[in-house]
Symmetry: C2
Subunit: 337 residues, 2 copies
DNA sequence: AACGTTCTTGTAAACGTTTACGAAGACACT
DNA sequence: AGTGTCTTCGTAAACGTTTACAAGAACGTT
């Protein structure tokens, strides 16, 4: 059945006693007589023939691969997104090439220009920081790119983004309804796309509700990781005594919860806690954490579909999708009665 | 600088006024005169030329891609492994193609034969269940494959595996030292490779220490997920009252911890808890969970290096690496005094 | 019986590289 | 000046497919 040697079209053709064109046609389901078809199939079967992907790619100009570049693979939300993208893309007959870039824009730019080597038909990119040179490179790309995340005005690229501002609004509103007054905010770096958006959301929502917004209610972690969250939460609780904390991220929320526990503060009794991204981890812990669902898997799915659509129709109008947030309420934000 | 049109060797050659052979040589760093070299580099720069990956692959017979197939991408331990593999592989100049297979062997077999289409130079495979047909396919593969996980006797393939039995030994020993007597075991499906190995380890270790091993101290979750863990832990606690529980997995451990909390049982006061895999999640939760480190990232790294070695030297002797476990002791298993 | 269609099949070119080979030039040595 | 070696460069073949084109066979139509 399977052979050790690699077999080619020519070998199959010889064995079947037909031309290579016929072999190719039969194997690709193009019209052919029963006779030829049978002979070819038999020969192919016997030789364990499978068409070579690179040769095919070269000829047809498509690799049937889609590249995915995410900055921070440690973050569970990216894992969830990647899984969804993988699913959609695979169903559409593409393979997924993953390249975890470093945080710096340098890396991403290098990756983008390497994309022009044509190892994939298109790319899904989720940049942590959007810089000028990155945008320039995005624009110059020969191959279609879908961006997950906000893009500056006027950049005409397919993209999918979350509505962090609305999401923050949901969180603050929920906390305010529970009678919380001093709502603190543990953010990640504000020079990142999500960091900036979430800060904007926090300010807007607090402002709208006339809630106090002293500087000592805000703190920025060095990045969006658990370890950074521990440090940030300690700093926050050293400088103020909030009755609620919203975190830019579930990882930061879990870290904050740990620090609260260390200090003997109960959740949600003393402090209500809300995370963002609504990853599995939020419901794993005890108490489970209320989290703003920013539609990560939906975003992932849309991004993948957008790219596939563009590959099918390069002239389709540019589409910028915004996914609406939802609040998943769990134990960490409401006191049971 | 960057051009919208795709540029080829021929274009560069024309522009530089040299032959395509010279262009190829210069760009690949083969010896050439200063004159030619300068002209070619200038032309290439102006046209934003980058060599086409598929054409190159076809010619040289290498794709510079490595395929990775893992069964369960939801499990954080696989995420950690994937990250490590990605790093090693990228450093060696390969791209990583990820294919998350379903649980069934069918999928994996299909994947293996698709590998023969030559879209990658080799594959790293981590099968949940090792069946006969899978092994047959592994053997028949034209391209090198490295397996993460145990292989039956006599299968001559590069592989890396954890020592679950020794790992279980560490966990049970630790618990016994703390004076725990009724040590329960929440396992995953026993017809999987890790499930079987961990069961073997549990039985061996308990036996060795002469600890009781009633059937009602053991329970098997339907799979290695959090949700299945909840169900399994409930069942366990319905049927017995252990003073320690070891789980086949950190996810199962977290689920068990949640169920313990529900029932008002304290960890580690009433019940000591130990997980396996030592993923980040074990230290995220409160109390943090003692976990058997089965060397997942080390295994991942070894697997990647093994494959890269074999690609460089196809005739290298087969290597089967076993990674020794370590116990990472956290709050869930020792009562502070 | 000659003609026009339609269907089937083979021949050959093309995709964009890398590289074996040979020609020609440069250079040193006798 | 003749010979040999070394270097540099261009010509052309090759990697394994897909597919445009043409040739022939089969068939119905007039």
């Amino acid at each position: 059945m399977a052979e050790a040697k690699k077999s080619t079209l020519v070998l199959v053709a010889e064995r079947a006693g037909v031309s290579i064109a016929s072999v190719s046609r039969v194997l690709n389901g193009l019209p052919a007589s029963e006779q030829i078809s049978a002979k070819v199939k038999a020969a192919a079967q016997e030789l364990g023939y499978v068409a070579d992907a690179t040769a095919r790619s070269l000829k047809v100009g498509r690799t049937e691969q889609i590249a995915l570049a995410v900055a921070d693979v440690g973050n569970p939300v990216y894992v969830a997104m990647m899984n969804e993208i993988s699913r959609v893309v695979t169903d559409a007959g593409y393979r997924l090439v993953t390249s975890s870039t470093g945080n710096d824009a340098e890396d991403q730019i290098a990756l983008l220009s390497s994309l022009n080597r044509g190892y994939a038909d298109g790319m899904i990119l989720s940049p942590l920081r959007v810089t000028e040179p990155l945008i320039a490179e995005l624009r110059a790309s020969r191959l279609p790119i879908v961006v997950i995340g906000s893009l500056p005005e006027g950049v005409e690229l397919d993209s999918v983004r979350a509505d962090s501002v609305a999401g923050m609004g949901l969180a603050i509103k929920h906390l305010a309804k529970q009678g919380r007054q001093r709502i603190a905010f543990v953010n990640g770096p504000v020079d990142t796309v999500p960091g900036a958006a979430r800060l904007r959301g926090y300010v807007t929502a607090m402002d709208k509700r006339g809630l106090p917004m002293h500087g000592d209610l805000q703190v920025n972690a060095d990045d969006f990781t658990f370890a950074a969250g521990l440090v940030a939460a300690e700093a926050l609780l050293d400088q103020s005594a909030p009755d609620a904390i919203v975190c830019a991220n579930d990882l930061l929320a879990v870290a904050t919860m740990k620090v609260l526990a260390r200090r003997g503060l109960s959740v949600p009794g003393d402090v209500a806690l809300i995370g963002m991204d609504d990853t599995e981890i939020a419901e794993l812990v005890t108490p489970s954490i209320t989290s703003v669902n920013l539609g990560s898997v939906k975003r992932a799915r849309e991004a993948a579909k957008l790219l596939i659509r563009r590959l099918a129709d390069p002239d389709a109008p540019v589409k910028q999708v915004v996914i609406a947030p939802k609040l998943t309420i769990r134990e960490s934000s409401v006191i049971p009665h």
